[in-house]
């Protein structure tokens, strides 16, 4: 009942945006809301179901974004010729030496000899890697740096990037999980936070991969371009029959297209998650979350389950990241900031109600709506306050100039109020 | 007393307990009967909505737990009853937190009572064994120089030799004029030293009498003392 009511409320809020502002704005919020909801579900899977404190969401979202470039951009043959193969060779050598180190550490007895061999291998591997890698990278980055300077992608349809984004994130999660999942909550948190920073640092600085901070603009789209629709007479005609002008019709058409695609993904994930939550698997996960030692003693392979759920949740975030980059139409590594891509998602999960999938979905929509809509609200508030003051009044000027900062303040206040009145989230776990 | 935890259902459905100066009163009963709950109720750690708690003739129902400590009540909970990361001596000092007078004498008394604690005074309490922890816990409560000492299962998980010692100490403490209210599952030994005994079942008094009386009651023996 409460669930329906709250979802109804969000729907109303979006409808209201549509009526009072514009349908484009409303659909825009809906689309990012859908993506946010998916991310929140990924985090909820990890935290709400298994108690894994992952604050590296940004990294997985970023990897999803990277996938769109690697899958959908056309390859840059000149760059491949300049050093594409050498780069991969270097990376292979690097991976090989790491693998050798891990092998040695497993096989050899601890002691000075092992330490020595490890260090020698590490240093030698690193030097060879740098020796191979540096010139190849420089060669690639020299190829028309203003516009290319990277290897490009595979030139495949961008929708393929969504699952690939999930896989990429899953791969990273596997590596992280293998090394860091043994850590206890807060320490796992900072480890994932750190790893996310590392992933973003790589995306920002490895220009040969995806142009780094120079950004990749103009990603292909799964839907037609608005201007093409506007130029298409049959579309214009159809639009007119609905009483819409071509610009509005085309923008709405594209946004609706995205909405439908995102909704399909959301519904599938939600359906599967609900099923597993209400099965012995879900019960086992809750048991593990409650008390790992006891779950272990009751024969559950906690480490594997953690790894499984960490990978799954991260993959969902990666998928959502790819969807988001597709929607943006460009990859801009400089924009990945923990506040926006990690902590805001956490706010969604907690305000929605952790442990409850519907709660996460609700939180995703609601918080995103607020994030976008508190901006005009803050400005409006300031105008209200300053209404009585005469123009030119220093305080009034100051207040109006600070209106932009009311945004975060309002956001914070709303969050505090919501958590005050339902401290376990709007839709708490039953 | 009638009351319960938070907004949950009532756990206590009319419990009456009484201890006089220098007496030992023992509460026994099945698991989940509400013994610990009753103790906490006496100490003001949950809502009691009917009934009263009277201490030295004064109704203290509205007082916070700290205020009750100040009035001269001491409590050793069933679990988590020491400051694990603080030294033994600091644990005792915390017991005397509200006292403004010189408490070194009381501390000496506690050390006399539990000599092992003096030996380990600078060790972290968390590093002690189960029985030693119980001694620290009782010692901490004694430091408040209470008139009433409440102990929730002080001998659970304690080896026989330490248990005997603890009972000895409790008797000694009672002799100094301190009243003792305790919950025990080692009921037979406890009732042997008790002046009063209460049997709680499902949040209500089932049997009341002197320790000896209860021990003699075949019904009580069979149902609660394990034959």
């Amino acid at each position: 009942m409460k669930t329906i009511g709250l979802f109804g409320l969000v729907a109303l809020a979006i409808l209201f945006t549509g009526l009072s502002q514009s349908w484009n704005a409303a659909l825009g919020i809906l689309n990012m809301g859908l993506i946010s909801a998916i991310m929140a579900m990924g985090v909820n899977l990890q935290w709400g179901f298994a108690g894994l404190f992952n604050v590296g969401i940004m990294g997985f979202v970023g990897l999803g974004g990277l996938a769109t470039v690697l899958v959908s951009m056309p390859p840059v043959p000149a760059a491949w010729a300049a050093g594409g193969y050498d780069v991969w060779e270097a990376l292979f050598v690097g991976a090989l030496s790491l693998a050798a180190v891990i092998l040695i550490r497993k096989r050899m007895k601890p002691g000075n000899l092992r330490a020595l061999v490890t260090w020698v291998l590490l240093i030698a591997g690193f030097s060879i890697y740098r020796e191979l890698f540096d010139p190849a990278r420089d060669a690639i980055e020299k190829v028309n740096p203003a516009l290319e300077g990277y290897l490009g992608g595979l030139g495949l349809p961008i929708l393929l990037a969504w699952p690939v984004g999930g896989l990429l994130a899953a791969g990273a999660a596997w590596v992280i999980g293998k090394t860091a999942l043994g850590l206890r909550s807060d320490y796992l948190a900072i480890a994932t936070l750190g790893i996310a920073e590392i992933i973003i640092a790589i995306m920002k600085n490895e220009d040969w991969l995806a142009r780094g901070v120079k950004n990749v603009n103009g990603l292909p789209r799964p839907l037609p371009y608005e201007i093409d629709l506007q130029a298409d007479p049959s579309f214009v005609e159809k639009a007119a029959s609905f009483g819409l002008d071509p610009v509005t019709a085309s923008t709405l058409y594209v946004k609706l297209g995205y909405s439908i695609m995102f909704t399909v993904v959301l519904v599938i994930i939600l359906f599967l998650m609900q099923r597993s939550l209400h099965s012995p698997w879900g019960r086992m996960m809750r048991a593990i979350r409650d008390n790992e030692d006891a779950a272990r003693a009751m024969g559950k392979d906690v480490t594997r389950r953690h790894l499984q759920i960490f990978i799954l949740g991260s993959a969902i975030c990666g998928l959502a990241g790819a969807m988001m980059t597709t929607l943006d139409g460009q990859l801009t590594p400089g924009t990945y900031q923990p506040l926006r891509y990690t902590f805001l998602i956490w706010v969604m999960v907690i305000v929605g109600g952790s442990g409850n999938n519907l709660g996460s979905v609700l939180g995703g929509f609601l918080i995103w709506f607020l994030w976008v809509q508190v901006e005009p609200f803050g400005r409006w508030l300031m105008e209200l306050i300053t209404m009585g003051m005469e123009p030119g009044n220093a305080l009034r000027e100051h207040l109006l100039a600070s209106a932009a900062h009311m945004r975060l303040l309002t956001m914070g206040l709303v969050m505090l109020l919501m958590l005050r009145f339902s401290p376990r989230g709007l839709l708490p776990e039953k | 007393m009638v009351g319960g935890y938070g907004r949950g259902p009532d756990i206590l459905h009319g419990v009456t307990l009484e201890v006089d100066r220098g007496e030992i009163a023992v509460i026994v009963g099945p698991n989940g009967a509400g013994k610990s709950t009753a103790m906490k109720a006496v100490f003001g750690m949950l809502n009691v909505h009917t009934g009263s708690v009277v201490f030295n003739g004064e109704d203290i129902r509205e007082l916070t737990p700290q205020a009750r400590v100040a009035k001269g009540m001491g409590f050793v909970p069933q679990t988590h009853n020491i400051f694990a990361s603080m030294s033994v001596e600091e644990n005792l000092e915390m017991g005397a937190f509200l006292r403004t007078d010189d408490y070194s004498e009381t501390m000496e008394q506690v050390y006399d009572l539990f000599p092992i604690l003096k030996e380990k005074r600078h060790q972290h309490a968390g590093e002690l064994s189960g029985g030693q922890r119980q001694q620290v816990a009782v010692g901490r409560a004694l430091m408040t120089k209470p008139q009433l000492l409440m102990l929730d299962e002080p001998t659970a998980g304690v080896s026989p030799i330490v248990m005997d010692e603890l009972f000895d100490r409790i008797i000694e403490v009672a002799r100094t004029g301190i009243s003792i209210l305790m919950v025990e599952q080692n009921a037979r030994q406890a009732l042997e030293i008790a002046d009063k005994g209460y049997v709680l079942v499902q949040g209500a008094n089932a049997h009341t009498g002197s320790g000896k009386q209860l021990l003699a009651d075949p019904e009580v023996r069979r149902s609660f003392l394990g034959g």
């Binding site: 920073e197 640092a201 600085n205 706010v347 958590l419 | 737990p65 400051f83 600091e90």
Partner: protein, 336 residues
């Protein structure tokens, strides 16, 4: 072989800056770790608390400066510091009363408090910018250098200079004093011990007659003082800008966690580990090598382990590695 120059070189570019930065981080991390240890949550609003405290101090400093008050070579801000601390303490106490207390009573899960502290962070964030604006503010006065690089060269005749700023000296000195005071307070005063007791076992503290609200209040006051001192020192050494303070949060948390959350000693160690790892791993050893090796063996390359692009990543790699080998931080911390 030129050991003297090498040492001065390293001191100037590695040791002095890292010790200063480390002290700043340590002071910040102490605040975070105290909240964590006693109130049991990670306080995301700490960076903005620092900004708030510094802002108040800056405003008072300006006022004092406009009155012509000055401490000579010592920055006027020190005189304003107590005001900053007092106002900040007032703010956080008020915040505790209207926000955190509710959740404490409810015994809410720590993660809820974390999110709540994010709400507080947003509000404070807006508040600071609202009052003083988002710009850089300069409030340092007094002497700039204890010893300048050029002076040092002239004095010693070495090729390398060593510069120590007054603010750096002040930072390290204050950090040492504050940390010593804090330790003395926690271990030897009644209130300090009651705080440790509360952090150890809340219910039992209640049974010992410790007033939890008082413990909480004292904690917030200390945290406010630590935050303001850390913020002001940082501002004196670099500059005051709200956004940077927000960004400081990440390294501060890293420091607190690498040292072991809840452990004051750990917070200090963590601060220095983070600071030193940032500087040393990306340091280009070329010049040092040139001093140490015979002239014909002088290196061509920079001898940099990793480019500074990865400085931030590197400090996190160190962090992750430390955690993998010491899963609760350098000084055994707590975990909620």
């Amino acid at each position: 072989m030129d050991i003297l120059n090498t040492l001065v070189l390293l001191a100037n570019f590695v040791i002095v800056p890292a010790v200063t930065y480390g002290s700043q981080l340590a002071l910040g991390a102490l605040g975070v770790t105290l909240i964590y240890g006693i109130l049991r949550f990670s306080n995301f609003a700490h960076g903005d608390t620092m900004a708030f405290g510094t802002m108040v101090t800056v405003l008072v400093t300006w006022m004092l400066q406009s009155w012509g008050v000055s401490l000579g070579p010592v920055p006027t801000a020190l005189l304003a510091l107590p005001f900053g601390i007092a106002v900040t303490a007032g703010l956080v106490l008020w915040t505790d009363r209207v926000v955190y207390r509710f959740y404490r009573k409810q015994k809410a899960k720590p993660v809820i408090l974390v999110i709540v502290s994010m709400g507080v962070m947003f509000v404070m964030n807006g508040l600071v910018r609202f009052i003083i604006g988002p710009d850089d503010q300069n409030f340092a006065d007094g002497a700039r250098f204890l010893i300048g690089a050029r002076e040092f060269k002239e004095m010693t005749g070495l090729k390398e200079g060593l510069a120590i700023k007054a603010s750096q000296g002040l930072t390290v000195l204050t950090a040492v004093i504050v940390v010593a005071l804090l330790f003395w307070f926690l271990n030897h005063t009644r209130t300090g011990k009651s705080m440790r007791a509360y952090s150890d076992n809340e219910d039992l503290a209640l049974l010992s007659g410790i007033n939890p609200e008082r413990v909480v209040a004292v904690t917030w006051i200390i945290v406010a003082a630590l935050a303001t001192v850390a913020g002001v020192l940082y501002g004196l050494d670099k500059s005051f800008k709200p956004f940077t303070y927000f960004q400081l949060l990440l390294p501060i948390f890293a420091a607190a966690i690498v040292g072991g959350l809840g452990s004051p000693l750990g917070a200090i160690a963590g601060g220095f580990v983070i600071a030193f790892s940032e500087v040393t791993i990306t340091y280009a050893w070329k010049k040092a090598a040139a001093y140490m090796l015979p002239a014909d063996m002088a290196p061509d390359g920079l001898l940099q382990l990793l480019a500074v692009d990865y400085k931030f990543a590197v400090s996190f790699v160190i962090l992750v590695v430390v955690l993998l080998f010491k899963p609760t931080g350098l000084f055994k911390g707590k975990s909620v």
